[in-house]
């Protein structure tokens, strides 16, 4: 056993898979210790804020010190962020439709284009063949470019508490800058927010932890049931074997997912905690472990070392534990890892159908997929709501399958490179 463990760490595939899995485990454990935000706290008013650094505008305006930076490209950048190339082409199109000769319009010259726009644009004007949506678009462009070329600062005003009259409190010049590190309220949202306005990264890491727990619990339950039934059926044989094989066959012919859906559905919304779901998955996914353990035990039970153990007067439990179990341990370990990864996938499938764990308590990877799907993140192109979840599920199962392939090569010399 020690030999094979040491050998496992010489297999490149196993080490890669193990390192990947260990890294994810460390992140899942360490991240909540450092970043202590509650994973399901709704922080954003609105749905699907894109990833980025969010700086408080109020705190920026009232920053203790403002710095003046004279940067050459500041004005150009400001214009570019409000007036994109496609807006310029659209404006040119409108002007041409309004009767200005195309040769007189230069979309690249911002000042000239804006002057022509100012002189000719009339939101009430009906252009032939233009849809309502298109004319709304031009109205939006018109509002966003007003005051674009202004070099004046903005005036800050406060309301007098008794009269309600506005009083000038200060001005913000275009060359004013604040240092982000001096702003008290800056929130980094590396993966934006989800449909309910929750930090996706914090949610994702907690969800990965819960999904791993579900996988582990389901894997332990499934492996224990499969191992016990397989050992009993294979070693004891006779009627015990017949009964166990009958039950196993019964479970084999019913598709696992259908059984899972039926059981989760009949449990009801209130009773579906992560552990319950894990138990349900474990109780339906033991079949293949039982079958293959039984097959291996049958081939082992007539070996000479088992006969010798019998002749030495050992009892059946002693023989099963000492003479059978160590010989199938490598297989059982591999089956266990496979059970964990398939349980994680099963939870994801269940949750996508809305039959996963209860929603207000903890997130799971499947639930995050479910929310992203219900709120149409894929149609709205809000990739941060579902892509990181997909990648996480893929990474967990990939690392586990890599470990199994590595172990397979260690335990089966015929597969070695």
């Amino acid at each position: 056993m020690q030999y094979s463990l040491r050998q496992a760490f010489r297999s490149g595939k196993f080490v890669t898979g193990f390192a990947l899995f260990a890294a994810m485990l460390v992140i899942v454990i360490v991240y909540p210790l450092i970043i202590t935000y509650p994973p399901l706290q709704i922080i954003a008013q609105g749905t699907f804020f894109p990833p980025g650094i969010y700086v408080s505008t109020y705190d920026s305006v009232n920053a203790p010190t403002t710095y003046t930076l004279n940067l050459d490209d500041a004005a150009a950048k400001r214009i570019a962020s409000k007036l994109k190339a496609e807006d310029r082409t659209a404006m040119k199109e409108w002007l041409v439709a309004a009767g200005i000769p195309e040769s007189e319009i230069d979309a690249a010259d911002t000042a000239k284009l804006l002057a022509q726009w100012e002189a000719n644009y009339d939101p009430k004007k009906q252009v032939a063949g233009m849809t309502f949506a298109r004319s709304r678009y031009f109205q939006r462009v018109n509002t966003s470019i007003s005051g674009l070329l202004s070099s004046e600062g903005a005036i800050l005003a406060t309301k007098a508490p008794d009269t309600g009259a506005l009083q000038q409190a200060g001005t913000v010049k275009q060359t004013d800058y604040v240092n982000v590190s001096e702003i008290p309220n800056v929130r980094l949202l590396p993966l934006g927010t989800d449909n309910f306005g929750r930090d996706v990264l914090t949610e994702l890491i907690r969800a990965a932890g819960v999904s791993l727990e579900i996988g582990l619990v389901a894997g332990i339950i499934a492996t224990l049931i499969g191992l016990t039934l397989g050992l009993l059926a294979g070693y004891v044989g006779g009627v015990v074997d017949d009964v166990i094989v009958f039950i196993t066959n019964l479970f084999t012919v019913i598709p696992g997912l259908v059984l899972l859906i039926l059981i989760s559905f009949s449990l009801g919304q209130d009773k579906r905690g992560p552990v319950t779901i894990a138990a349900v998955i474990g109780l339906t996914y033991w079949v293949w472990t039982a079958r293959s353990v039984r097959a291996q035990v049958i081939s082992l039970r007539n070996r000479d070392h088992v006969n010798l153990s019998k002749l030495s007067g050992h009892s059946i439990p002693h023989i099963i534990i000492n003479d059978i179990l160590p010989y199938i341990a490598s297989y059982v370990i591999m089956a266990f890892i496979l059970q964990i990864s398939s349980a994680i996938l099963a939870e994801a499938s269940l949750s996508i159908l809305g039959l996963g764990p209860r929603t207000t308590d903890v997130p799971t990877l499947g639930l995050m997929m479910n929310w992203a799907m219900i709120y149409q993140a894929h149609l709205l192109q809000k990739w941060w709501a579902y892509l990181p979840v997909l990648v996480t599920i893929a990474m967990i199962t990939f690392s586990m399958n890599l470990m199994i392939t590595g172990l397979d090569q260690v335990f089966n010399p015929a597969l070695r490179d």
């Binding site: 070996r303 000479d304 070392h305 006969n307 019998k310 007067g313 000492n322 160590p326």
Partner: protein
């Protein structure tokens, strides 16, 4: 001479059938036998003749389909684990393949301690146990001090088979079934193993049931010989009688098939 002694293990109409329907195999077909105390009996036959199946039935590892086995003149009863344990104190075995006979996860000490415990020595002080194990090992010319804390697979095939004999030395059973104990071992170690087996028999006076495909070996060690073909005993008698004056053609063929040095080997009968 043999008939004067008490019957030790005998069987009547012993039959074993594996499978059913089209896969039905008659492995042992209504055999009768009578082994006497202190005798060396050889059961000779080619592969697939049912020798090992018979041995396993005698050991109580598989149940016969039909027939009865009598042990020490009484009907054998191994219906419960306790009775089986009692039976196995009296009958032990050495298997063909030493490499698969040991649990590779159990150390050599464990193998030998099991035997001491089975003889009721589980309560003995540690020093006494080590003394017993050392004695058993030195009987087969092994050094216990070198073997302790080692795994069986770290030994050579011959050493493993000698360890198996040391095991029997500790157990001191009435009957030992040696199922082709030398067939996986080279010719030089074979003589040593046989030597230790015969020495052990003389030492504890047990009945030795020697199962082999090698009729030359059978002649060399046994008092009486049973020739087995297709699950039946086709010829039986004292070693001299069967091998020097064979009656059955099958026996003659078996004798012919033994390769002889300095003589042309007739392969036409094979």
């Amino acid at each position: 001479m043999a008939s004067e002694k008490n019957s030790c293990l005998s069987g009547e109409g012993l039959t074993k059938i594996f499978g059913f329907g089209r896969t039905r195999t008659l492995a042992v077909d209504h055999v009768d036998f009578d082994f006497h105390e202190g005798e060396v009996v050889s059961i000779v036959g080619e592969s697939g003749s049912g020798k090992t199946t018979l041995a396993k039935m005698l050991l109580g590892l598989i149940n016969p389909t039909e027939g009865e086995i009598h042990f020490l003149g009484q009907k054998r009863d191994i219906s419960s684990q306790k009775k089986r344990q009692e039976y196995w104190k009296n009958i032990q075995a050495i298997f063909q393949d030493p490499f698969s006979s040991y649990n590779i996860f159990t150390k050599i000490d464990g193998v030998l301690l099991d035997c001491i415990r089975m003889r009721g020595g589980g309560h003995l002080p540690k020093e006494k146990k080590i003394e017993l194990m050392t004695e058993a090992c030195s009987f087969v010319n092994l050094k216990f001090a070198e073997l302790t804390n080692k795994y069986p697979f770290e030994l050579s095939g011959g050493q493993m088979q000698r360890l198996m004999i040391a095991r029997i030395f500790l157990l001191k059973p009435r009957i030992l079934i040696a199922d082709e104990p030398t067939s996986m071992i080279d010719a030089c170690s074979r003589a040593t193993i046989l030597d230790y087996l015969m020495k052990l028999r003389d030492e504890i006076g047990m009945t030795l049931i020697f199962i082999t495909h090698d009729i030359g070996l059978a002649y060399y060690v046994s008092d009486s010989v049973y020739i087995m073909e297709h699950g039946k005993f086709v010829e039986r008698g004292s070693a001299d009688e069967v091998i020097l004056r064979p009656k059955e053609p099958y026996t003659r063929r078996l004798i012919n098939d033994v390769p002889k040095i300095y003589e042309e080997w007739d392969l036409s009968t094979v």
